[in-house]
Symmetry: C2
């Protein structure tokens, strides 16, 4: 069978595949620091050279920022996939904390039998991008062809917030047409369990400023009479949740639905316990809504968290001040059809109602984005689930992601494309931190996973279960 | 009558009295900055030279820090008073904000008919100290004697927290024996109403640290499940007051009593309104205990205020973090017989009971001092009230002070001495800030007030009302 030969080829080619990945990691393509602008360009060129050699038709597109690499390999009569990844990396400071140099990659055994690829970008996202390209390479080397048509879109500004990408996709919508989007910038459920990210929580992020007196006051003179904004702020924050952990803002849960039965069953099968999830961070009990499972708290239920709070004297020692103002940054993770604009408005109105006479509150909107959900029963997702189960010997977890991956929304909005988000990162990869690494197992079995997924997508049939 | 001649002499001598005060202000006796150590010594020497010339027996006592000036002028058969003040001053930075140079004093008309003495120390405390010395000078120039025996204790470390003063008083308790303490380091009720400070609120100051997870968390990953210390802290702060503005810590009000009827009547006669007290700081309504008058909120009721709060991300923009810990500085103003140790203990126990499972709270004690009250009906207070009424044409306000004046406690504890705290500072004197000033009226009528008080103390009789 063709696929078996492809998988064998992947295993045999690991040493050379590592060399190719190392060559990319050696280029310090830090997109946020203009001192590395030439390296970013060099990295795009290196990528182009590699995929050119695979028979892709590759173009480096300049943008107002860093270039986008687009490579085509169409296939008549087969589905066409659009693969997204990024070749830029995070800065490395503080560099002193790296035990291995960030741009001199190596394979290191960090525990008996556990080997990792070291270096900045090993996981985020050069290593992940190469799992897909190596899968293509193995198909081409073995069968002379790819099972599906492929377009690669590898950008160089993801770590800078992708400022030019939406406009680029808009301008190149015709060249980027495809049947399915594939994104490799997410993680596994755990080291043995693959995952498909089927939802991204939305976000409403606001700063509030409570003001009372028009200046800082001496608490010895005014204490007992003057309103204290820290007290008012505390009362507002306390009022955001009821005793059952539910958010009390009227209308907050509008658009929140329960996940489909199949997804709930998938989650249940994962058997996630509080000890497993919270134990590593020193906690034991989820504070989420009573009567819901932990997996719902972190996947399908909206949340509300104070991300920062400050006011008054915060230095050493004691200062008897009543501050003129106190501030908090408060954010909401959204799910389903929750409307960020409506929630921002309801939040502001709710907060203003909590403020006593003499005091005022200013609500400063900062960010707002809708949640995004992929249909768990969509044919491409079903194909990926099957492929991942075959590779890893267990059902893939269908998970939600807290971080935002804006390209998924752009692909949907501009290209009408649904995405399959599969990645092989692990929680301890330290992306964005010193000592980033990518497990060799993630790299090798990730490559094998993409080979299986491409094979499955070529033979994709509509799922029997109806879409929700 | 002798007193009238003394008062006339004071009025006539104002130009020369100003020159003497200016000479002191010109010496930058900043006690907190070792660069000015010689100036501090020079200021002590200048004071000694002046009071020596009045026939006091004066000694400059070195301490581990800056020297103390002690001057004696005993009088057989008369009461003896111990007068306290300080000759050191606050630093002047930011110097750029001074419209007049801080150490080149002048008289300046800041409003039609309102003249002020400019310069650092004009109010705090050189100007106030000189009101007393000038009163003595006028008695000596007019009658050749003082009506009472006088000891001056003028220290040079008040702005540094008087680190060496308690030990000095202890060591020199015999030389400092007196019948009454007089302190001139407080303020008027308003520009037309004198005040006697009869109570100092005590203080319990604590920092609390709420800890949940053992590290900062990404709210997109852990939000909805992980306990958030900012929420816990907000709940603790909210729980400190009930709906009626009362502190909810069990036992908090133990030792709090209502002021004596005469003091309440005195307060009532002041007719303080919320508009008067809170209007200048942009507020309208007192948040103190329901069913109590504003004057009680700021004078005789204990308080609880958050002085600082912080946790999580407080910089620009949005960061989706759940902090590992959140902190607050929380202080209580104490009155009557409230026990700072008992309250600190009750607070810690109360806070710990509010903390949910998985979280912890550390309570860090920072400061604790008892409230201090002078008997409103004590003979010396009654004498001062009479003298002030005669000078200002209205009843002196018997007020509490929020700031602490530790020497008052030291005099009581070490010397068994009750103090009369009278001062002529105004709220807009900007002590400790750029552009400190002292009203010329405060200086002149303050001097006259001390002359009347010394005269009254000489003829002091026990008050008819029994002590509480």
């Amino acid at each position: 069978m063709g696929l078996d030969r492809v998988l064998d080829r992947i295993d045999a080619d690991v040493p050379k595949a590592l060399e190719r990945l190392f060559a990319l990691i050696r280029i310090p393509s830090i997109s946020t620091d203009s001192a590395y602008a030439k390296d970013v360009v060099a990295c795009a060129a290196a990528l182009k050279a590699d995929v050119d050699s695979l028979g892709f038709q590759t173009t480096i597109h300049p943008t107002a920022g860093h270039p986008v690499v687009v490579a085509h390999r169409p296939k008549t009569g087969a589905p066409h996939v659009l693969f997204y990844g990024h070749y830029d990396v995070q800065p490395v400071d503080p560099e002193a904390l790296w035990t291995e140099p960030p741009f001199a990659p190596s394979v290191k055994e960090i525990a008996p039998g556990r080997k990792v690829i070291t270096g900045r970008g090993s996981a985020d996202d050069k290593g992940q991008v190469m799992t897909f390209i190596e899968a293509c390479r193995a198909f081409l080397a073995t069968t002379g062809d790819l099972p599906v048509g492929v377009t690669l879109l590898i950008e160089g500004e993801e770590e800078s917030g992708s400022p030019n990408l939406p406009a680029f996709v808009e301008t190149h919508r015709k060249q980027l047409q495809a049947d399915i989007g594939l994104v490799c910038d997410t993680g596994m459920w755990d080291a043995d369990t693959p995952a498909i990210t089927t939802s991204l929580r939305g976000l409403v992020y606001q700063e509030i400023v409570v003001r009372c007196a028009d200046r800082d006051l001496h608490s010895g003179l005014y204490g007992g009479a003057a309103a204290n904004p820290a007290h008012v702020l505390a009362r507002i924050i306390t009022s955001l949740h009821d005793r059952n952990g539910r958010v009390r803002i009227p209308g907050f849960y509008k658009g929140v639905t329960n996940p489909p039965a199949a997804q709930l069953a998938n989650w249940k099968s994962l058997g996630l316990t509080e000890a497993e999830f919270l134990g590593p961070i020193g906690l034991k009990h989820s504070v989420g809504e009573k009567g819901r499972e932990l997996i719902e708290h972190i996947q399908s239920r909206p949340t509300c968290d104070v991300n920062g709070i400050w006011g008054g004297y915060t230095g050493e020692g004691a200062k008897t001040v009543i501050a003129a103002e106190a501030r908090a940054k408060i954010s909401f993770r959204l799910v389903g059809q929750q409307d960020p604009k409506a929630i921002a408005k309801a939040f502001a109105a709710y907060v203003k109602r909590q403020v006593p006479k003499d005091c005022s509150v200013e609500v400063i909107p900062m960010k707002g984005s809708r949640a995004f959900e992929v249909d768990y029963n969509a044919p491409a997702i079903a194909a990926a689930r099957t492929a991942l189960r075959q590779e890893w010997g267990r059902e893939a977890a269908a998970i939600g992601s807290g971080g935002s991956i804006p390209i998924v929304g752009d692909f949907k909005r501009i290209l009408g494309l649904d995405c399959v988000m599969v990645g092989f990162g692990l929680e301890d990869d330290r992306v964005h931190s010193p000592n980033e690494k990518y497990d060799l197992k993630s790299f090798q079995k990730g490559t094998r996973s993409w080979a299986r997924i491409l094979d499955a997508l070529a033979r994709m049939k509509p799922a029997k279960e109806p879409a929700r």
